[in-house]
């Protein structure tokens, strides 16, 4: 993974001191809350329902065991011993004290971490395919480019006060595991006829209000032009994006109002005009960063059948929680943060320590967070899988449900977030209880539920096969259900099926929806494919059967 040099370290150290001074001035009454707000947000600090929330950046989801142990220690010392992994692959702490945040940032800086630009109207943490570098379907490893974009975006003098937040994701694989099509900018690594890497550039995707799928603005952008072209996009957005209405301020609204063709002309014109002053990504710099992501020293092994004669629980875990690896003899191991009865995406300090230990023992000392709110040990030898499984089981991290209905994406909702309209965690619990039987889950196969507590869509509900959105109706929590969203293979936005349902009916409604699938699926067909074949109607009808309370 990338290791800081003196420049990188100086920048985060100086940032810590800047924020320490800002926090001191705020607490001394020299900086009003209004003045402090944009400053603390650019350091990932929100003032939430009960306490501040600190969002720590995990650039493109990659962590060393040392960093993960530090996160565990911080969660213990400054929080209540729990962290929440998010869809931007970051970690949120829900109970830090404002006065201690500079100290937390100083501790993070000792392990080459920070919370820079994890919130606020600026370029956010860059995300990537969690299988980057090991996926069999990859053109090139996106992580060196992610790191370069991370650096370029950090404290960018021109683009730190944008109209609204700005999210970039990069993938090098055929299957879009980084949901690039619903990002402000999505980059797809490609190769030209000569084999040189470059990018297809998508602009204007996004969730939240008025969700949109990104439009391809460039079929192939050479690597050297990456930063200059991003600057052109951001300059057009910074100058012309709306600032008078927060709900119309994302770049997707600018693309929509100008039209894709006109927007493309604007970027190309800006790119041509600004080229001479734009930052250049040199081959030497790319090589320098790429070196940090060179493959670990894999052993020469053969693939083996590790489940032959093994206990059924292990076999199920192998099937659901491990993934093919491009190197023979290795598998990628998902660490499920979706144990039934726990909050999706949460990990205790003890669990983080356990995963850090396992990473050192069995996966070259590295851990990844995934956008589905799980962790991943990317490089586990197949002959060590059984030991790894046992250790994960001991820490309730081996629930064999990856890709199944209870591997839900869920934002923290009303229990923590001051933006939320409705709770999400209790609904997640209800769903976990109702679908607690693993054989039932396996029979249902791949069903993706994504749930958000408000329109901001941190839980990505628009792109869930089943999306759940919490809404406030006269002070009560109700839930709007949508069907047909998806990200992998083909990005589609779900359609709301009808009136919202009350909290106590959400899990039962979902059960009636999946019952239609069970009754009418054809062969091995997945839920989403049955839905596409049949259309919404039978699902809608079933959802509202026996449902007099819908309003």
């Amino acid at each position: 993974m990338y290791r800081y040099d003196e420049l990188d370290q100086a920048l985060v150290d100086e940032r810590v001191e800047e924020f320490r001074d800002q926090t001191r001035r705020h607490l001394a009454g020299e900086l009003s809350e209004e003045q402090f707000r944009p400053l603390r947000l650019r350091n990932g600090l929100y003032l939430q329902r009960h306490a501040p929330m600190l969002r720590i950046a995990i650039p493109y989801g990659l962590l060393s065991s040392v960093q993960l142990r530090k996160l565990a220690a911080i969660a213990r010392r400054y929080d209540r011993g729990v962290g929440h992994f998010t869809t931007r692959q970051n970690l949120q702490l829900n109970w830090p004290a404002l006065a201690q945040v500079p100290e937390i940032l100083a501790e993070l800086a000792t392990v080459q971490m920070h919370a820079i630009q994890t919130s606020g109207n600026c370029v956010r943490n860059v995300t990537a395919d969690h299988l980057a570098g090991i996926a069999p379907d990859e053109v090139d490893d996106p992580r060196p480019y992610c790191e370069i974009v991370r650096q370029w975006a950090a404290l960018h003098p021109e683009f730190t006060y944008l109209p609204r937040k700005f999210k970039i994701a990069i993938t090098g694989a055929a299957e879009d595991r980084a949901v690039t099509e619903v990002h402000d900018v999505g980059l797809h690594l490609r190769r030209d006829a000569a084999g040189a890497p470059g990018f297809a550039v998508l602009v204007g995707g996004g969730l939240g209000r008025a969700p949109a799928i990104g439009t391809c603005m460039r079929e192939f952008l050479p690597c050297a032009d990456l930063l200059g072209y991003l600057e052109a996009i951001l300059r057009v957005y910074n100058r012309y994006g709306r600032r008078d209405n927060i709900h119309k301020a994302r770049i997707k609204m600018l693309v929509r109002s100008l039209g894709a063709a006109r927007f493309r002309e604007e970027i190309e014109a800006e790119w041509q005009a600004g080229r001479a002053a734009a930052p250049l990504l040199t081959a030497a710099e790319l090589e320098r960063v790429r070196w940090h992501f060179r493959p670990p020293p894999y052993a020469t092994l053969q693939d083996r059948d590790v489940t032959a004669g093994a206990e059924p629980r292990f076999a199920a875990w192998y099937r659901y929680n491990t993934h093919a690896h491009r190197i023979p003899g290795y598998r990628a191991v998902f660490v499920s943060l979706k144990a039934h009865g726990s909050n999706p995406g949460d990990a205790t300090a003890a669990q983080m320590d356990a995963v850090a230990d396992l990473a050192e023992r069995a996966s070259f000392g590295l851990v990844r967070s995934t956008h589905d709110q799980n962790l991943l040990l990317a490089d586990v030898r197949q002959d060590e899988l059984h030991d790894v499984w046992r250790e994960l089981e001991r820490h309730s991290l081996a629930t064999p449900n990856i890709g199944t209905l209870t591997d839900m994406i869920v934002c923290p909702g009303l229990d923590f977030c001051s933006l939320a309209n409705a709770g999400t965690l209790s609904v997640a619990r209800d769903i976990q209880r109702r679908f607690d039987d693993l054989d039932y889950l396996y029979d249902l196969g791949n069903i993706e539920i994504k749930m958000s507590g408000c329109m901001n869509a941190c839980g990505h509900h628009h792109v869930g096969h089943i999306g759940i959105l919490g809404v406030d109706k006269r002070g009560e929590e109700w839930y709007q259900i949508s069907l047909g969203g998806s990200t992998r293979g083909r990005t589609t936005l779900g359609e709301v099926i009808g009136p919202a349902v009350p909290r106590q009916d959400v899990a039962a409604t979902i059960e009636r929806i999946v019952a239609v699938y069970r009754a009418r699926r054809s062969g091995e067909e997945r839920f989403i494919d049955t839905l596409r074949r049949l259309g919404l109607e039978p699902f809608r009808t079933a959802a509202y059967a026996l449902h007099p309370q819908a309003a």
């Binding site: 420049l7 100086a10 800047e18 730190t160 600004g274 930052p279 250049l280």
Partner: protein
Amino acid sequence: MRCILRRREIVADDWAYPGETAPAGTPLIIPLAALRTGPQAGQLPLGVLLAPADAVEELAPVVAHLALVAVEFPDGGDGRGYSQARLLRTRLGFTGELRAVGAGVRQDQVFLMARCGFDSLQLAPGVDPRAAQRALTRYTVAYQPGAAGVSLERQRFFSF
């Protein structure tokens, strides 16, 4: 007398805005709209005030005749002025005094402003000019290409 930070020095402002009382002969910073109706000859040196929505491109024909461009930051959140400054410096070749002005010009923003090419800062009321002066040396490093107004020990990305 108003103080400004010019090239990191705290100095008395020797410019005025229309309507301000100033000694005879003090040059004026006029809004872009006033420039459109034709600046009076003999009023040089001439300064222009850009509002956030103003297009810097409009200044292209006259930029060589301008001694000062002031860019307005009406609040802490509106970042259009940063792009206006970059464009003035890198595309229009403006070499005169580039001034940030408005309620958004505070000590926590001045480092970025200087990196975008501002060499003059008219701080918001209440901002301690010495604190702002110190903030200009808050960082010794940066990743992006930027103006020379801030001395950096290290920088990562460069332009052509």
